[in-house]
Symmetry: C2
Subunit: 325 residues, 2 copies
């Protein structure tokens, strides 16, 4: 929870004047969000989200993210729409950071996830995957299999401080996942396209029994569709790190397949992808845990939650473990 960059009232008023949304009424920093500084901006015409992009988001990727949101919103995916200024541009500068204003989405994220939430998520994710098909830009996933070894090596020497034996277990896991990971665009490879890549519960809003918003597209990239599902199996379907709720998984996957069916290659790859997704979040959390700055505004998440999840997926023999026939 953080606001990293302060915005002066004069600068904000000048920034907002570049858009056709009336005068600033109020602007409050939002506690949620880890990567960027987010503000709930109220103007004479309504509520908006103002985002200042901090250092973890690469400036060269911002046009991809903003154009993707605009593309998806136009295709009726419930996601924020970037506002274009009077000059036609979305992206401008504020307080020395790249900054944009996006539409405000109603709803709240589910603190207690139910199978019904998982079904709505599956349906919306499939819609997102389909809607991304005619998006013309491509962006490699910075946190996919190729990134895991450097991440592991940056933490390996101190991993056992977190849990004895962790470095060895991760090394073995990494070797296995690297060797089995499917080739991109091979003849029998699972299909690829635009994925969100960070659809954790706090990035999905619900209101009145419906899914009302998908937010935070700043990890979106081009990768295997089924890997997006695998991230969500990890993030949505465990009761705690040791118990997997197959009912939630079945709801998610079944609802997904009603909108976009899964190929045989995708079903086969799902256990490996789930294992890889657990490894990905374990490695990034481990790195953040070991490299927490003394003045951190955000408490790093415990990496060991994902070790337990990883072990679960390692024991899975086929997609049946996720409730699929």
């Amino acid at each position: 929870m953080a606001v990293y960059t302060e915005v002066s009232d004069e600068d904000l008023i000048a920034f907002v004047a570049e858009f056709d949304i009336g005068e600033v009424v109020a602007c409050k920093g939002i506690a949620e969000g880890i990567e960027n500084s987010n503000f709930l901006l109220t103007t004479e015409t309504g509520s908006y989200i103002l985002t200042l992009y901090e250092k973890r988001v690469k400036r060269k990727d911002l046009p991809f993210f903003l154009e993707l949101m605009e593309h998806l919103a136009a295709a009726a995916v419930p996601c924020p729409t970037p506002l274009r200024g009077r000059d036609g541009e979305c992206l401008r500068g504020l307080s020395g950071r790249p900054a944009a204003i996006v539409s405000f989405l109603e709803g709240m994220w589910a603190r207690r996830v139910t199978p019904r939430h998982c079904a709505m998520l599956g349906e919306a994710m499939a819609g997102l995957h389909l809607a991304g098909a005619d998006f013309r830009r491509v962006r490699a996933n910075d946190f996919s299999v190729g990134a895991w070894r450097p991440l592991f090596e940056a933490s390996a020497g101190r991993a056992d401080e977190v849990q004895p034996g962790l470095a060895r277990e991760l090394a073995a896991e990494l070797r296995k996942v690297e060797s089995d990971w499917p080739r991109e665009h091979g003849q029998d490879s699972p299909p690829m396209g635009i994925i969100h890549a960070d659809l954790f519960p706090d990035n999905v809003f619900f209101r009145g029994g419906r899914l009302s918003g998908l937010i935070d597209f700043y990890f979106a990239c081009t990768d295997f569709f089924a890997y997006d599902l695998a991230i969500c199996l990890n993030a949505w379907c465990f009761e705690d790190e040791r118990s997997f709720n197959i009912t939630k998984a079945r709801h998610m996957l079944s609802a997904y397949r009603k909108v976009r069916d899964l190929s045989a290659a995708e079903l086969d790859a799902l256990p490996l992808f789930a294992r890889g997704a657990a490894l990905r979040f374990l490695l990034t959390r481990l790195y953040d845990w070991l490299n927490k700055p003394a003045d951190a505004l955000v408490t790093p998440k415990n990496p060991l939650e994902y070790l337990e999840k990883l072990r679960f997926h390692r024991g899975v023999r086929g997609p049946g473990a996720y409730g699929l026939d």
Copy 2:
């Protein structure tokens, strides 16, 4: 910047249903605010602030704060108005904390304070002091002169870790301020009444060139009116901790006196009160600095800023130093 307590959507919906403000549309944690958890709550009828009171605010004081805000708002002081539920109550429970909803105030706080801001603050503060006269409750100031010795003693042994010689300087200062502090309700004592006691810039909103809101009444108490001004001389009128802007002070005090004049006793006491106010924030910041929890969500403020301010006021011989004739 912090949200200490999570609120589930089900609990929030049930909580809001006790009020006559329509259904919940969205609810976002606000990054600003140190003592309590604050959320910007959007419902079908508009925007509100939801506050969950955390441990630093005593439960027994909450009726004082809420009734005071209601009283002041009714007297046209631009402050949040607590909403009463269908049962007539403001204060209820949410996520195991006492909680209330108050009206949303427009405006932003001044990141760059000008003399004009100081004048608007002085005028509004005088209005607050006058409007509090017929408020029937009384609350002692937990952070006035009587509290400073225990606070000092809790930090004295380690004060020199922050700056060599600090413990000795504070001990001498404390003796002087304690011995000179005016008696309450004496024949020649400065007048007392309801004061805000924490009118720092981030608690004062401006919009369109006018003061639009005073917020955060959770230090409000019964104390010398001029002590409230003294807090603001410290918080608003230094350019940095070493240079005092007498123009800002003159604007603040002159605008105040147009609404509520200052007695001779108040003018005489102002340098002492300014010194005491600097000591008060120095001591609480020193305590927080030395006792920062390892998992703190909030970075403590550097106490030494207030040491420099204290030294400035120590050198003041009369109210002329604050721009008064």
